[in-house]
Amino acid sequence: MTSFSMEHGLILATIIFMLGLIGLLSRKNIVFILMSVEIMLNAAGLAFVVAGSRWSQPDGQVMFIFILAMAAAEVSIALALIILLHRKFKTLDADAAHNMRG
């Protein structure tokens, strides 16, 4: 089994992070936007795991669990808000809600 270096891991995490970011910027649907954010969070989690493995510490994985927990909390609230959004604006288009500007 070829071991992979930390750099490779971080590059992978970065790529996933970028994917999430691009998704965030390019998707209109609010659900997809949320998913993109989740991807970014997971990319960060991956980076933690990689870093932890470099130092042979459990800290990275511990951190990943915290991230998961937090993401879950966030998503639950987000879904509630999305329902409200849908009720008020009759759409899931994130850009539809732009009453406040200027």
Partner: protein, 634 residues
């Protein structure tokens, strides 16, 4: 008795204060009593002082009276202090005495005004006399400057006395502003003196100047030029003479008092006073002489063409002061002062006489609409003729002859004199005689064109008589060598002003006699020309006036050689134009631009606040890129 000196200026000021504060509630009688009374008292005190001064002259012919310390800064400490010496004595005598006569005259002349206006008139007149007295009594130039500006102010107030007519206001403003131009130059002169001597005390300056400043050094020349600037402005000499003809907008007694007898001679006084500076700067002396000569000729020509009797007298005043300047230019200090005195008499007389005519003819000032006044107002006529004779310097019997002759003689023979100036003066004398006779013939002879409206009463006539007497006998206190050599006046003055160093010794009495004869011939000839052109054959002039060149020459002279036009184009209009263009202040545009720019930024930034979620996320992404770039690559 000399201690009473302070009362001489104080009384007119007191009169002014009373009239200014309570004039509105006084009857005309009380106003007149205050106005005339204060001046009468002042004149009386002056006479008392004069007698005691002449009887027992103080040491060095100089009496000083310090009232209080005025300013005291950094070693510069002028006081409110009066200084009496022969020159100022002559001046205060003329000012109070002639002033008193003119006040008296005004009591009737101004009676048509209602009581507040009447009180205002006397208030201003009193204030004027007070200021003029301060001017001539000042022991330092700062106080002199106070009087100097004070008379300028009163002149402004009195020219614009009938303020409802904007033209009068314009004339008044012109007088003030044009003289202020000169005053500004004078102020610079004072700054130089302050810097150099830390004092403006006249005595000190006169003592120090020759010791500190060598002849013709840059400082003394500039100082002299600056003082000359002031003098030229106040005395209506070239090139600042334009205000005086317009100043005739004021009531006639004002013209008599201010624009003939007293204020306009302030320049003469100043130069005579500061003669040491001018002696250190012979170049400037020459300039003074040239200015005098040019002015007297230019003004003389203008006088010939005027149709308003007061304007004739105005130009004549300019011209006569030109003589005084000429005298100053050749160092004939006492002659200048002498001519000032005689001129004060006869010019006041002429103005008052003209005023009487104007008063009688219901404010008609155009000579071409007069005529035949001789029979209507015989007393006015005779006094006027006496005054005119003095102005034209008819030989032997008139004061004007003696004073003008003295100037011409000294111009010819004096060590600073020059033949050129002499001939200019002589030519001027000819013109003077011409316009004087023209004025007399047009006004008094011929047939009646306007009917008699009012008749001057005794309060107007008495001053005329007194002045007529004075302008005749005034000349006899200074008789030339050919006529008994009785230089009483010069001797008195020369206690304080140096003698011109005339060539009495080496030129001999023959020259003097010859010059006198020439002068006499010229004067009489001038009168004769006037008689021919304006009485005998007026059509000659009329015909000449019809020709195109005659027409333009006439206009040219009538409007005072176009000086007004030049100043208008060079100064007044550009300033006006700049002021109008810049009325709302170009610099404000800078700040408006800044405000506009800021608002622009606001709009630009507002544009980024789209309210769209993804755009905001884009902002964060952008920020991330920037941040990482900065951190990694810098």
């Amino acid at each position: 008795m000399l201690e009473l000196l302070w009362m001489v200026p104080a009384l007119p000021f007191l009169g002014y204060i009373i009239l200014a504060l309570f004039g509105g509630r006084m009857t005309k009688g009380i106003s007149a009593a205050v106005g005339v009374g204060m001046l009468g008292l002042s004149a009386l005190i002056t006479i008392v002082i004069a007698i005691s001064f002449i009887a027992s002259p103080p040491e060095g012919y100089l009496f000083l009276q310090t009232l209080w310390k005025w300013v005291d800064v950094a070693g510069f400490s002028p006081a409110i202090a009066l200084r009496l010496d022969p020159v100022s004595l002559v001046f205060i005598f003329i000012i109070t005495f002639v002033g008193f006569l003119i006040h008296l005259y005004s009591v009737q002349y101004m009676e048509e005004e209602d009581s507040t206006w009447y009180a205002r008139f006397f208030a201003y007149m009193n204030l004027f006399v007070g200021a003029m007295l301060m001017l001539v009594l000042a022991d330092n130039l700062l106080l002199l400057y106070l009087g100097w500006e004070g008379v300028g102010l009163c002149s402004y107030l009195l020219i614009g006395y009938w303020y409802k007519d904007p033209a009068n206001g314009a004339a008044a403003r012109k007088a003030f502003i044009v003289t202020r131009v000169g005053d500004t130059a004078m102020a610079i002169g004072l700054f130089i003196l302050v810097m150099a001597f830390r004092t403006l005390n006249i005595q000190e300056i006169l003592r120090h100047v020759p010791l500190v400043w060598p002849v013709s050094s840059q400082a003394v020349v500039i100082t002299a030029l600056m003082l000359l600037g002031g003098a030229v402005g106040k005395s209506a000499q070239l090139p600042l003479q334009t205000w005086l003809p317009d100043a005739m907008a004021g009531p006639t007694p004002v013209s008599a008092l201010i624009h003939a007898a007293t204020m306009v001679t302030a320049g003469v006084y100043l130069i005579a006073r500061m003669h040491v500076i001018f002696l250190q700067a012979p170049e400037v002396m020459t300039i003074v002489g040239i200015i005098g000569a040019l002015t007297l000729i230019i003004a003389g020509f203008s006088a010939i063409t005027q149709f308003d009797i007061k304007k004739v007298l105005a130009y004549s005043t300019i011209s006569q002061i030109g003589y005084m300047f000429l005298a100053l230019g050749v160092g004939a200090w006492s002659a200048a002062v002498f001519h000032f005195m005689i001129h004060a008499f006869f010019k006041a007389l002429l103005f008052l006489g003209a005023g009487a005519v104007i008063y009688a003819l219901h404010h008609e000032q155009n000579m071409f609409k007069m005529g035949g006044v001789k029979n209507m107002l015989p007393l006015t006529f005779w006094t006027f003729v006496i005054g005119s004779a003095s102005l034209a310097a008819l030989p032997l019997v008139t004061g004007g002859f003696y004073s003008k002759d003295l100037i011409l003689y000294l111009a010819f023979t004096g060590e600073h004199g020059s033949k050129l100036l002499y001939f200019a003066g002589l030519f001027g004398a000819l013109i003077t005689a011409v316009y004087t006779s023209r004025m007399v013939f047009l006004t008094f002879y011929g047939h009646e064109k306007t009917h008699l409206h009012n008749r001057p009463g005794p309060v107007m006539e008495v001053p005329l008589i007194i002045l007529a007497v004075l302008s005749t006998i005034g000349g006899f206190i200074e008789l030339p060598g050919t006529l008994g050599h009785f230089p009483l006046f010069s001797n008195f003055i020369q206690n304080i002003l140096p003698s011109p160093g005339s060539g009495e010794g080496h030129e001999g009495i023959g020259t003097e006699l010859m010059l006198q004869i020439v002068a006499a011939v010229v004067a009489i000839g001038g009168v004769f020309i006037g008689y021919l052109l304006y009485y005998k054959k007026p059509e000659t002039v009329q015909n000449f006036k019809q020709t195109p060149s005659g027409q333009s020459l006439y206009k040219f002279w009538l409007y005072g050689w176009g000086f007004d036009w030049v100043y208008d184009t060079l100064f007044v209009k550009p300033i006006d134009w700049i002021a109008q263009v810049n009325k709302s202040d170009v610099i404000d545009l800078i700040y408006t631009a800044i405000a506009w720019l800021t608002r622009g930024f606001n709009r630009m930034f507002s544009f980024t606040q789209t309210g769209r979620l993804r755009w905001y996320a884009m902002g964060i992404a952008f920020g991330a890129i920037v941040a990482i770039t900065i951190v990694v690559f810098l």
